[in-house]
Symmetry: C2
Subunit: 130 residues, 2 copies
DNA sequence: CCCCATCGATTACGCCTGTAATACAACTAC
DNA sequence: GTAGTTGTATTACAGGCGTAATCGATGGGG
């Protein structure tokens, strides 16, 4: 699982985010959802939808003349795989130094720290269970 | 500082890693250092060195006929900026969910956890100091 | 019925990337 | 000093990406 992950470009990723959040959507709904954040021509968004379908990242049902698009890959799987490869490339696979960077730039807030503590507690629990 | 970071491609990054580790190096030394990990033709590596110089990521001194290359951007700065933008794109800027992914895949080891605990301790210390 | 608006499909196009090969300059060994 | 050899610089070329415009089908309004 995971090694043969589809490559999604930056622009395409923005389209995926929309569909991960709400699905299925027509092309125009995707355009509308992006209109807020991106200044893309409608044609551009449709090109991206097309490429994502070609890549197997999106599927669609025909809904009359228009299509209704939905993700074929799960956001969570994509995040996992990308994180793994990013941390591998930049930090030799170790995630702690990445977090250290955030900490050094004051990019950690109380919620983050709370979550991290919980993760650590769970991890230690796990160790003891073996 | 950091928004105008030079874009470094994947292949180019491998070259940077070599020079971040040991610097300065001649083109042939870089080729040799990569020979281990990558199956690249010597010409390919020299193209990458050239592109990195064009991009302003590397500088060089002339050492007779050959050049002696060295990084112009610090590994740490690059890591920081890339981490920031990666976490922004995939996790809406929150680093904890990324760590959670590692945890869920058993990609955390005792060292990581130890470092994370230390980061948290430092963070809490910092909070109290205000 | 016919034309227009609107879909998705196809084509465009310049830049970046991966992956070299070729060209040109200069040293080195005769 | 002439021919390799070895450096860097220039050129190559296909595929991906950002960013659309054009094409061809189709459905809706009159």
């Amino acid at each position: 699982m995971g090694q043969l992950m589809i490559e999604i470009s930056n622009a395409e990723l923005s389209v995926m985010q929309v569909l991960w959040q709400r699905q299925p959507l027509s092309a125009n709904e995707v355009v509308a959802a992006l209109g807020n954040a991106k200044d893309w021509h409608e044609k551009t968004v449709k090109t991206l939808l097309n490429r994502l379908v070609s890549k197997g990242a999106l599927g669609f049902d025909k809904d009359g003349r228009a299509y209704s698009y939905y993700p074929l890959i799960a956001q969570h799987d994509y995040q996992l795989e990308q994180s793994r490869s990013f941390v591998e490339r930049l930090f030799a696979g170790r995630v702690a130094p990445l977090v250290a960077g955030f900490a050094s730039q004051n990019k950690l807030n109380a919620d983050d720290v709370q979550q991290l503590k919980q993760l650590i507690a769970d991890w230690e629990q796990e160790q003891n269970n073996d």
